[in-house]
């Protein structure tokens, strides 16, 4: 029997307990915002705007090398150290001391190639790759010029995404962060239940006519309120601070939000059923959260992960939650789309399974009512 009469006071109690806990504010509000700001700056901040400071060495000065040097100066975003050539040794030292990002060595007698020297720690850096790409193109053009030929083919890059031409990396990252922080609130949020059990609060409630089902419903209601606050806050930061654009489909957003929040809270509930202490719970939640964070398409698309890892991504609930939230917030698609419903179904399956196992464990350990 569900006693709705008990709901208002229970809801008020859960609300106060949640909002009075300082850790909740930090981990669920400030932390995701800080994390999102950092990621935006690192990955999304000035996408397309290339900038690098380089030194140029010219071991065999001449007319050809002067011409090359001149062309390098024309490159947008490339800043040349000291406005002139340095020796190869000086250049390498500048790179090692990180005074410049890279050294470009123009051809010499021993080495007819144009050589790019970067610090080893930047070997796989995006800027290094971009620089290499640029130089390659540059060398090719120089070759054509030397041969007196003109290129027949050229390359144009264009990006597409559902929801029009609007989707940009900021949108992708913002929605990923929203899904991640909602998921984490669920995974970590049931730690209070461990504490309530340890202190005997749950037993105490069972000695009263309080409906434990209603107590749980009131708790979930507060979590939904909190989730809405998270979405609005992160969306505001993404849109106002980093120019992300929303293409809302409210119905699919609501469905994905509702099912996803329930599913991750159910997983948290399962964790709480098997942990005797807060520490044990936090350890489990941390493992789950880290495991999912990097392979569920929050920051990096699942398709770009190593192939052996992708099947794991395809079973993780966060993968589907991220998809669902993106469908609702930036792709503006959803209820008419089969892939949306597959995502919702997988999430729901996770939630139901976790809840059933959790409830069973609570009962088996007679943590829950013996009557």
């Amino acid at each position: 029997m569900l006693a709705w009469k008990q709901f208002p006071q229970m809801f008020a109690a859960h609300l106060k307990i949640t909002f009075r806990e300082k850790a909740v504010w930090f981990w669920n509000i400030f932390f995701p915002v800080i994390l999102m700001v950092l990621f935006m700056i690192v990955f999304g901040g000035n996408a397309g705007e290339f900038k690098a400071r380089v030194a140029v060495a010219d071991p065999r000065p001449g007319e050809a090398s002067a011409q090359l040097m001149d062309q390098l100066r024309q490159f947008p975003g490339l800043e040349i150290h000291g406005e002139g050539a340095v020796t190869a040794e000086e250049g390498r030292k500048l790179v090692m001391d990180k005074k410049v990002f890279a050294l470009i060595e123009l051809p010499s007698e021993e080495n007819p190639a144009v050589r790019l020297v970067v610090h080893r720690e930047n070997e796989r850096n995006i800027t290094a790759r971009a620089l290499a790409g640029m130089l390659e193109q540059f060398v090719q053009q120089a070759n054509y010029a030397a041969l007196g030929a003109a290129p027949v083919f050229s390359l144009d890059i264009e990006t597409v995404a559902a929801g029009g031409d609007e989707l940009r990396f900021q949108d992708y990252l913002m929605t990923g962060m929203i899904a991640l922080s909602l998921a984490q609130s669920g995974l970590f949020g049931m730690v209070g239940l461990v504490e309530m059990r340890r202190k005997g609060v749950l037993r105490r409630l069972r000695m009263t006519p309080a409906s434990m089902g209603m107590f749980g419903i009131a708790d979930m209601a507060v979590r939904f309120v909190f989730g809405v606050v998270q979405i609005m806050l992160l969306a505001a930061v993404g849109v106002l601070g980093f120019g992300a654009k929303l293409q809302l489909h409210l119905v699919s957003l609501a469905v994905a939000f509702f099912v996803g929040v329930l599913a991750f809270n159910a997983i948290g509930y399962l964790f709480s059923a098997v942990s005797k202490s807060q520490e044990a719970y936090m350890a489990m939640a941390n493992i789950a959260s880290f495991l999912m964070m990097f392979i569920s398409g929050v920051f990096i698309p699942v398709d770009t992960l190593p192939e052996w890892l992708q099947p794991l991504s395809r079973v993780m609930p966060l993968t589907y939650f991220v998809d669902g939230i993106r469908d609702g917030m930036v792709y503006a698609r959803g209820i008419a789309d089969a892939s949306f419903w597959i995502a919702v179904a997988v999430l729901a399956a996770w939630g139901v399974l976790a809840f059933l196992i959790g409830a069973r464990l609570y009962k088996a350990k007679s943590i829950a009512a013996t009557r």
């Binding site: 208002p8 006071q9 229970m10 109690a13 307990i17 005997g200 609060v201 000695m207 006519p209 013996t370």
Partner: protein
């Protein structure tokens, strides 16, 4: 009809028999105290009565209501203060009372409870910052919020300082005045003796004694111990010992220097003889005491175990 009747209760956990056979009946308006050594089965018994554990055998009846048939009705009419505080750290005193009041069909006004547990000045404080005694009073307040007929207080004074303990005694006596029935467990014999109408001593999962504190002590023995110290030293003590020997009525005596210990079933006759003798001889008595038997002696006699506070 008793408010609560427990018949032939039994509960085992694997190979361990926590409760072997416990029966008792609690009458309306009394303070009924259960005492026993650790592991005697007190907590298990209480948990079965409170509906947290299902007994293997036996019956529990709340004036005709049983857990199988009337769980909701029983929860409405009982109030429980569990041993562990079981409170929400981040809620205030008043928020606790309002939350718990919402669970019940009928409830006492929050202001009235605050006054009874004397926490009016702390009503807006969070549990986190309350003292042990204040938390315990709040826990008792929550047990009273539904104006229950039957209140369970499980070691309400354990770990409290003497003043805080007295505050809780006041609440228990107040409940009695209000005509409520209280079932109490305690670690303090003095408390059981002072507050209880009847005491039930439990050991090894069974009731070993059940009566009023006075009757339990009376049942033990009528013998009292008198201790005397003479300022005039050993000679006076020896003379007094000889006199009492002649007068009779003394079970046994022990003498050590000027100190004399006398065990007698008729302490007034022994003292009468003694004071006649000291006045006649002009001996001065330095110290005199009569030790009454206490519930602690009863406990030791029935369980064979030392009582540890």
């Amino acid at each position: 009809m008793p408010v609560l009747e427990v018949r032939r209760l039994r509960k085992t956990f694997g190979a361990v028999t926590a409760v072997a056979d416990i029966s008792f009946a609690v009458e309306h308006g009394e303070v009924f105290t259960i005492i026993g050594p650790n592991g005697a089965g007190k907590t298990t018994t209480l948990e079965m009565i409170e509906g947290l554990l299902v007994p293997d055998a036996g019956e529990i009846s709340f004036g005709g209501l049983t857990w199988e048939q009337d769980a909701r009705a029983i929860r409405e009419m009982i109030g429980v203060q569990p041993q562990s505080g079981a409170l929400f750290d981040l809620l205030t005193v008043e928020e606790h009372l309002r939350l718990f009041a919402s669970f019940y069909r009928k409830s006492r006004p929050v202001g009235e409870i605050l006054e009874m547990i004397n926490l009016q000045d702390h009503r807006n404080k969070r549990v986190k910052v309350l003292s042990g005694g204040q938390r315990q009073r709040l826990a008792i307040g929550l047990a009273m919020i539904n104006d229950p007929d039957l209140i369970f207080l499980d070691e309400p004074t354990t770990g409290l300082d003497p003043q805080a303990r007295l505050n809780i005694w006041d609440i228990i006596l107040r409940l009695k005045e209000m005509g409520k029935t209280t079932i109490l467990t305690t670690h303090y014999m003095e408390e059981a003796e002072k507050l209880s109408d009847r005491v039930c001593i439990v050991d090894q999962g069974a009731v070993v004694a059940l009566d009023t504190p006075a009757a339990l002590i009376g049942r033990l023995t009528k013998e009292r111990e008198i201790r005397l110290g003479f300022e005039d030293g050993e000679a006076a003590a020896r003379e007094a010992e000889e006199l009492l020997q002649r007068l009779g009525n003394v079970t046994r005596m022990e003498r050590e220097a000027g100190q004399l210990r006398i065990w007698t079933e008729r302490p007034e006759a022994a003292l009468h003889g003694l004071f006649g003798f000291t006045r006649e001889r002009g001996y001065r008595v330095e110290r005199l005491s009569i030790r009454e038997m206490s519930l602690e002696d009863v406990f030791i006699a029935f369980t064979g175990k030392e009582w540890r506070d």
